[in-house]
């Protein structure tokens, strides 16, 4: 009995020591230089090697974070603490601070009722695909095609298409990543400050007459907002009104009322 216990103890410890020494020796002998940041990230990871991140273990994931800019949020077992630690190592401080939070907004209020179409489009339901053919089926070539490329690309599902066929952005959900701005072929998706009060719901640089022909809610470049309300921060460039959000406005709401096509709309 005693002998057995001794044997067991000895076996495990001898094996353990043997392997320990062997490995220590081997690691000295076979040492290979690694990127220190990779090692640091690897240390920060839980070493569960569970593969939940989709990479082949923690080392592979660490390597991918450092060398291939992999997403640092993939480690499920590590959770938030690991993310913070990795962010520190990688110098990925959360951006923010004094910059104004911007959100995306569709600068167009056209839908099937208000805007004229030149032809009936038949093809892939994707704005960029539709834009290949005559820049979309709408007569206005600046407006929203409403096929929802921005919806697909939005990482937080902030963009939806309403019953009325217009594309809406939920500014509470929007994280300001600008992916929708990049993907939009007509450039109708633009960023405005989170606390903007009004925005111009039009993107057309066409002359007034052309806009009127194409759509009933477009900015016709009449300059009423610019001339009548000089303090409100409106400027009309290229037949399109723009709002200067940096100034303290006065009478911006009055201008919105005065707009003949009511394309100055409340940014809710």
């Amino acid at each position: 009995m005693i002998l057995n216990i001794i044997y067991a103890f000895l076996t495990v410890s001898v094996l353990g020591t043997l392997f320990g020494f062997g490995l220590a020796f081997a690691s000295k002998k076979l040492a290979i230089k690694k990127d220190e940041r990779v090692l640091a990230v690897e240390d920060a990871l839980p070493s569960a090697n569970c593969g939940a991140c989709g990479f082949a273990g923690c080392a592979a994931y660490a390597d991918a974070i450092v060398n291939a800019a992999a997403d640092i949020t993939l480690c499920a077992p590590g959770g938030a603490t690991t993310q913070v630690a990795i962010a520190e190592i990688m110098g990925l401080e959360a951006t923010g601070g004094d910059s104004v939070k911007m959100v995306a907004r569709v600068h167009c209020f056209g839908n099937d009722e208000t805007s004229k179409k030149d032809f009936s489009y038949d093809g892939i339901l994707d704005c960029n695909a539709a834009a290949i053919l005559f820049q979309g089926d709408k007569s206005c070539k600046y407006g929203c095609l409403a096929l929802g490329s921005c919806i697909t690309v939005c990482p937080v599902d902030a963009i939806t298409k309403g019953e009325d066929g217009r594309i809406n952005v939920d500014k509470e959900v929007c994280i300001g990543c600008e992916k929708c701005v990049t993907v939009c072929p007509t450039g109708v998706m633009k960023m405005i400050p989170y606390d903007a009060d009004y925005f111009i719901a039009c993107n057309s640089n066409d002359k007034g007459a052309a806009v009127k022909r194409a759509c009933t809610v477009g900015c016709i470049g009449c300059k009423i907002c610019e001339r009548k309300f000089p303090e409100a921060g409106y400027t009309v460039k290229n037949f399109l009104s723009e709002i200067d959000y940096t100034i303290e406005p006065e009478g911006r709401d009055k201008a919105a009322e005065a707009c003949p096509t009511s394309c100055i709309r409340i940014a809710d």
Binding site: T11, G22, A26, N49, C50, C53, F55, A56, G57, A59
Partner: protein
């Protein structure tokens, strides 16, 4: 059992993933793309083959003479953990290209139930040294086959509009289930009839 029988058993009939559920974590985790799946599969095969041999030696030359078979779990896992680390280092030193191909998968294997599983199964089936080795390789190949097939299926499914809640892991499990369903065609009787 003949060696061919062992191969067929471990690759098809008792496929580690599809019937034994050993090594499911990497099977689900690393089957997102084919390249990683192939690398993982080969790494597992490699380690399983070596681990089978080493654990066999430890079991029959250390544990049995000392009457310590109840220590098999603890010694096996010790052996495997060290072995994996050693193999990783050696491969890294000797053949950097091989390390690039296999090495990154090696740490993941330490906690892979399949490796410890094959060691224990070898003991349970009282295989000889060579038989253990063949069983190790075959089980690894079975794993390789399953994970590569799975990766290809998942790559195909990535291009389809899978319903949102089912995307990713669930659909992988369901695919695995259907694979297992088809693999039920391989049974013991088939082996017996085939090899007489």
């Amino acid at each position: 059992m003949s060696y061919i029988a062992i191969v067929i058993t471990f690759v098809f009939i008792n496929n580690f993933i599809l019937t034994q559920f050993l090594g499911l974590c990497p099977f689900i985790g690393v089957s997102k793309n084919t390249e990683s799946a192939i690398g993982m599969g080969f790494a597992v095969t490699f380690v399983m083959a070596i681990a089978s041999v080493v654990t066999w030696l430890v079991y029959y030359y250390v544990l049995i003479p000392l009457g310590l078979t109840y220590l098999q779990t603890i010694t096996f896992i010790l052996v495997i953990a060290s072995l994996v680390q050693l193999v990783e280092m050696i491969v890294q030193k000797i053949s950097p290209p091989l390390y690039k191909a296999l090495g990154i998968f090696l740490p993941l294997i330490t906690t892979n139930c399949a490796v410890l599983g094959i060691a224990l199964i070898n003991v349970t089936n009282s295989y000889g040294l060579l038989e253990s080795f063949v069983a190790g390789i075959s089980a690894g190949l079975g794993f390789l086959l399953a994970i590569v097939l799975m990766a290809n299926i998942r790559e195909r499914l990535d291009l389809e509009d899978v319903p949102k809640p089912l995307q990713g892991v669930p659909v992988a499990f369901i695919s695995g289930g259907l694979m297992a369903l088809a693999f039920m065609a391989f049974d013991k009787a088939l082996l017996t009839n085939l090899l007489g």
